[in-house]
Amino acid sequence: MRHTGTIAMRELRSLFISPVAYIVLTLWSVIAGTFFLASLIGFQERLIQLKQFQMLQQIEQMNLNDNLIEPFIGSMWVILLFLLPAVTMGLVSTEKANGTDELLLTSPISIWEIVLGKFLAGAGFVTVMSLIIAFFPAILFAYGEPEVGKTLSGLLSLLLVSMTYVAVGVFASSLTRNQLIAFILTFVLLLILGMMLPFIVEISMAGSGMGRDSAISQVVNWMSTGSHVERMLKGLIDTADLAYFVLASAVFLVLSKTVIESARWR
């Protein structure tokens, strides 16, 4: 597995040479800053409103975690669906476009080392993205008293979901030599996996008389990343949710390995 690091480092270096990395990081930071500021102002206005009407009970319930940090990270997760495909689209597809897949596949390395190297490079990049997000709640600690555990749980959910999405990106990128196709494919897969699965089931079962509690709808809800992210955002770190992220990543990495391997046989 020692080549995994070699491949990951080369990929990261190339990523940071390309403008894509900087465009994504700039957009990410700007959007995060805007969202954060907007939710901060919203939080303040609501507090003033509640005070004016002497609604003490509601004021009691207002807190930085539930009313600011959680919606903030939640909306950044949605932005991730749009930006992440740009990061991962070239991971494997450019190797094919450059002809460098011929170098990798004729080197004394295993396909697993290639796949994991690509995944690690993407994981490194999304770690930087998550750290940028972590900066904003950190500001709140200077002026208020948010709950540490809940905040960290939310940030962890963003990091884990990003890594799972990187695995999806590696898979989509291994299917084509064209970066644009890889981008669109990743985006569609993320959209389905991230938010559309529950809706698809609901719509398709609308006439069947089966309710939300049916086995199928429960399974599909479990497959969707959305439900797991939401629970972690609320501060619940459950091993079942952690296992989901590991399992989902593993599934897409195994698929990537199969795709790269089968390309040889064509």
Binding site: H3, T6, I7, R10, R13, S14, I17, S18, N98, G99, T100, D101, E102, L103, L104, L105, T106, S107, P108, I109, S110, R264, W265
Partner: protein, 275 residues
């Protein structure tokens, strides 16, 4: 000049090449590659001894690239086997690939990297030990005349230089066997002479076994000791150049004769099948 990382001394000489197969640099037996109903390579067998420089000749589509891709483990054969320095390309793939330096038809380059960082990357992929890595990288760069451009981006380099970078990545781990797929195609005459000189130099000083494909006959005459002729995926001639010359015919005459006879036969066979 000795090359770094020679794990075991090369066993040279005719007697060893004849008897046991592990000492052969390249051993190919019954190798075939089929795409659908048509064969890209059909029942190909040949052997290359250590230190030999062999030219792989044939028109476009003869199966040269396909054969090389099978030897280097890029694509699996449909049938038959091949061994590189005694290691089976399939059962012992990692060992076989470690023994090979390969320059594909299109040099596998990352345009955003510099030649130095790229060669260093390849050295890591090919398991050059950490203690010798820097030395191996610099040696490969200097052998291929890349020191002056080592800090520039590969995308800025001319085609000739890119080809040299491709060659440098093939030799950085001092492989026992070098497989070069049309190393001079698309270069200008001066660059062609330079690359040829470089290959001859590698064979002379590195003692490496070289298999190179080309469709330029003069190239084979200039650097190879032996020519293997392919047509329609099959071997049609396998002869040391010295024998060809002693028979009085030039390589071009032999080539033309074999190719036309071959085409005549296949068209006859085709006609026969229809009738």
């Amino acid at each position: 000049m000795g090359w770094v990382e020679v794990k075991e001394p090369e066993i040279r000489g005719r007697d060893s090449a004849e008897t046991s197969s592990p000492t052969l640099a390249i051993e190919v037996k019954g190798l075939s590659k089929r795409y659908g109903d048509s064969f890209a390579v059909r029942d190909l067998s040949f052997q290359v001894g250590p230190g030999e420089v062999v030219g792989f000749l044939g028109p476009n589509g003869a199966g040269k690239t396909t054969t090389m891709r099978m030897l280097t483990g890029f694509i699996p054969p449909t049938d038959g086997y091949a061994r590189i320095a005694g290691a089976d390309i399939f059962d012992d793939g990692l060992e076989a690939r470690r023994a090979i330096g390969y320059l594909p038809e299109i040099p596998p380059l990352y345009p955003e990297m510099t030649p130095r960082s790229y060669i260093d990357f390849v050295a890591r992929l090919k398991d050059v030990p950490r203690s010798k890595r820097k030395e191996s990288v610099e040696r490969a760069l200097s052998r291929c005349g890349l020191q002056d451009v080592a800090r520039r981006e590969i995308r800025q380099l001319s085609k000739g230089y890119r080809q040299r970078v491709g060659l440098a990545q093939a030799i950085v781990h001092d492989p026992k066997v070098l497989v070069l797929d049309e190393p001079t195609v698309g270069l200008d005459p001066i660059q062609i002479l330079e690359i040829r000189a470089l290959i001859s130099d590698l064979a002379a000083t590195g003692g490496q076994t070289i298999l190179l494909s080309t469709h330029i006959l003069a190239e084979v005459e200039a650097i190879c000791q032996r020519a293997i002729l392919l047509n329609h995926g099959s071997k049609v001639l396998d002869q040391p150049l010295s024998e060809m010359v002693s028979s009085g015919a030039s390589l071009e005459e032999v080539f033309t004769k074999v190719m036309t006879r071959e085409d005549h036969e296949t068209s006859e066979a085709g006609a026969g099948a229809v009738a």
